[in-house]
């Protein structure tokens, strides 16, 4: 069509062109829908397989065990179990043998090893709570050992299967919610493992990370964006920060090992060191998100504040920062979610150690959820399979709660401003 001729809007050529445009739009929408569907499918598969495998971890089989404490060789006197040292005294007694003897007496010699560490833990707590049971012959519901637990849930070796059938026929087997899993820490016996130690370790580590990375990251962003002169140095800093955000996490682990452990001699395996390392990793993300959020604050607001005589500092802290906060929080959520799921750098600073008790503080030895999952997934015992999946569920829930909290905070600030 020559440029001087008027455009003929009604001729078929034009209709065809319009149809082509609509067709391409439909294609694009179909692609987009397909992409979203595939991700939803993967997410559903992940959640389903985690749920199917992991929910079993929250269930625990318990067997009824009549114990004749008089016949057992425990030598525990209820009268001595009234003080604060009671737990220690009971722990010193050989409950394992007592349980084994009682099980043999009740269900035959095959049952000698049907109970594990979990049963010992539960029995200890029961005796401490009520020492008077030592004087009688109570029937107690105790969690069964890993072999019987696996046999009750799935299928296992014939001996355990036989034992399960025997218990079922005597009405001596029941399933219950596994409180042990939420309140105990790591153990070599899968029936006795719990997530609490790792959960507390994660909590303390993230606390250190947020406490360090958020203020430092935000202040760095504010300084770079509002106060720093634009020159070669700030350009170099900007490039470094952008590169740091993309550095593989294990590198930060090596840095943490070299600086915090070897130079500063901080304790190994501690949430403090883990938090410091993760803070190093998260800070660039927060700085970048913070700078972008600060850049989007309209200049008219700065002008308005400057116009009534606010100082630079007042402009930043009264107006710019509150308006940028939702954006900064978004970046922080992304950074924290990444830090929460990080394993590699923590392995470097010794958080893969076997820790059987929850950490008492940020400098006590601890492990974190992702590392705990990694450790359990490496175990040979079949009882650990569902514990691993259950731990993943706990990790996902923890992440969900944390992100939910952050999003709630963000929306609150958005409403206010």
């Amino acid at each position: 069509m020559s440029s001087s001729a008027p455009t003929r809007w009604t001729e078929p050529e034009m209709h065809k062109r319009v149809r082509r445009r609509y067709a391409s739009e439909r294609r694009f929408r179909a692609f987009g829908f397909a992409a979203v569907s595939i991700s939803v499918l993967f997410l559903a598969f992940l959640l389903f397989s985690m749920g199917a495998k992991g929910l079993g971890g929250f269930v625990q089989y318990q067997a009824a065990l009549p114990i004749d404490f008089g016949k057992s060789s425990l030598f525990l006197d209820p009268a001595t179990l009234r003080g604060p040292d009671a737990a220690q005294t009971v722990a010193g007694a050989d409950l394992e043998t007592a349980i084994s003897q009682a099980a043999t007496a009740a269900y035959g010699p095959d049952a000698a090893e049907m109970f594990g560490d979990a049963a010992v833990n539960v029995l200890t707590r029961k005796i401490v709570a009520d020492p008077n049971i030592l004087t009688g012959t109570p029937t107690l519901w105790l969690p069964v050992g890993s072999k019987v637990d696996v046999a009750a849930k799935h299928d296992a070796d014939p001996a355990s299967e036989h034992l399960v059938n025997l218990l079922k026929s005597k009405n001596a087997l029941r399933s219950a919610f596994n409180m042990e899993f939420l309140t105990q820490s790591d153990s070599t016996d899968p029936s006795a493992v719990g997530i609490w130690g790792a959960l507390k370790g994660t909590f303390l580590t993230i606390l250190v990370t947020i406490g360090l990375a958020f203020p430092v990251g935000v202040l760095a962003a504010v300084y770079l964006e509002e106060f720093a002169a634009r020159n070669r140095w700030t350009d170099a800093i900007e490039v470094s920060i952008n590169n740091l955000a993309a550095v593989p996490s294990i590198t930060f682990g090596l840095l943490g090992l070299a600086v915090f452990l070897n130079v500063m001699n901080l304790p190994r395996s501690a949430p403090l060191v883990g938090g410091l390392t993760l803070a190093l990793m998260t800070m660039p993300v927060i700085v970048i998100a913070g700078r972008n959020a600060i850049k989007t604050v309209p200049p008219s607001i700065r002008d308005a504040a400057l116009g009534v005589g606010a100082s630079k500092m007042q402009v930043v802290f009264h107006h710019v920062l509150p308006l940028a906060l939702p954006g900064i929080l978004t970046g922080t959520i992304i950074g924290m979610a990444r830090a929460l799921g990080e394993t590699a750098p923590l392995l470097m600073i010794g958080m893969r150690a076997f820790i059987a008790a929850p950490p008492t503080g940020i400098s006590a030895p601890a492990t974190v959820l992702p590392v705990q999952i990694f450790l359990w997934s490496d175990e040979v015992d079949r009882g650990f399979v569902e514990k691993t999946s259950a731990a993943i569920i706990v990790l996902l829930l923890f992440m969900l709660v944390m992100n939910g909290l952050a999003i709630y905070l963000r929306n609150r600030f958005e409403r206010r401003w």
Partner: protein, 303 residues
């Protein structure tokens, strides 16, 4: 610069029909003569002592943005009981000059200002001048209404609060009420002071911005095209407000609307291509300008 858009006029007589009215208020822009209000003329006579001390005095001010010179050798006086209007086509430097008067140009890293500007004979361009205090004494109202995304009360109270002008909550509330009253907004917002300032209409927002400026009790108020984003009714209200504020504050206003300059001001400065072409009494600038360029501009031959 507006020079490219300027169409050479073939006819020497002023054009009477509005060819390209950009804004409703501008429909009369091409009228040959602009009426200066009678009231303004009378008041002008009373305040016409040429030797008296101006509130602000600019002497040979030039502004550079990097290599580019935006303003050249501007000398002007702003009196405390008069409204001074800066007119001229877009890009002529009038806003740049206005922003020199409270050193808002400091926020542009490449901007450089030479010459002297005094406020009560004190040089405000010197490093010794405290910018924060200067901006409290020389308040500013911007082209686009820019209330803080906070409550109406907070908007007005902010300046007083950061400068510590109030001793108590009651004090602060009084300042807010007084300022809103002076800005002619009190009756409209007194029942919803806790609502967001951004929820107001454009004209109300601009009056809120004026209230915010006068809440810190400034000596001079600079207005940078305060009505260009408003409709004629809101514009009329702002102009009325300027009338009421005159005498209490020295006012300098940048405007594209020559009608407005004639209506609200007693002194007018015409800027063109970064130069101050003519500065004088509004009545003389609009009725009997001494410069050909001024004549061409006010009769609508430019822009």
């Amino acid at each position: 610069m507006d020079m490219k858009e300027k169409t050479p006029m073939t006819s020497t007589t002023p054009v009477t029909e509005p060819e390209l009215p950009p804004e409703p208020e501008d429909t009369e822009l091409h009228a040959p003569k602009i009426n200066v209000s009678a009231e303004a003329k009378i008041e002008e006579k009373q305040a016409l002592d040429p030797d008296r001390e101006p509130k602000m005095r600019a002497n040979n001010v030039a502004v550079y943005y990097g290599e580019k010179q935006a303003l050249n050798g501007v000398s002007i006086k702003i009196y405390e009981d008069l409204v001074t209007a800066f007119i001229g086509p877009s890009g002529c430097g009038k806003s740049t000059f206005l922003r020199c008067l409270n050193r808002m140009n400091d926020t542009i890293p490449s901007a450089r200002v030479t010459g002297t500007i005094t406020l009560d004979n004190e040089d405000i361009t010197s490093a010794a001048m405290d910018v924060v205090q200067l901006r409290a004494r020389v308040g500013m109202v911007f082209q686009k209404p820019n209330p803080f995304p906070k409550s109406i009360f907070e908007n007005v109270a902010y300046g007083a609060r950061i400068h510590g002008l109030s001793n108590s909550k009651a004090d602060l509330a009084e300042i807010v009420e007084k300022s809103l009253r002076r800005a002619g907004l009190w009756d409209e917002v007194k029942d919803r002071l806790e609502e967001s300032g951004t929820a107001l209409s454009g004209g109300q927002q601009q009056r809120l911005c004026i209230a915010r400026a006068i809440a810190v009790d400034p000596e001079v108020i600079l207005m940078d095209e305060p009505c260009s984003a408003l409709d004629p009714i809101a514009t009329a209200k702002i102009e009325e407000l300027i009338h009421e504020l005159r005498g209490r504050y020295a006012i300098a206003i940048v405007t594209h609307n020559m009608q407005q300059a004639a209506r609200v001001s007693q002194r007018t400065a015409f800027f063109h291509l970064g130069e101050l072409v003519e500065y004088g009494k509004t009545s003389e600038i609009f009725t009997n300008p001494s410069q050909q360029r001024t004549q061409d501009y006010i009769t609508g031959r430019y822009g």
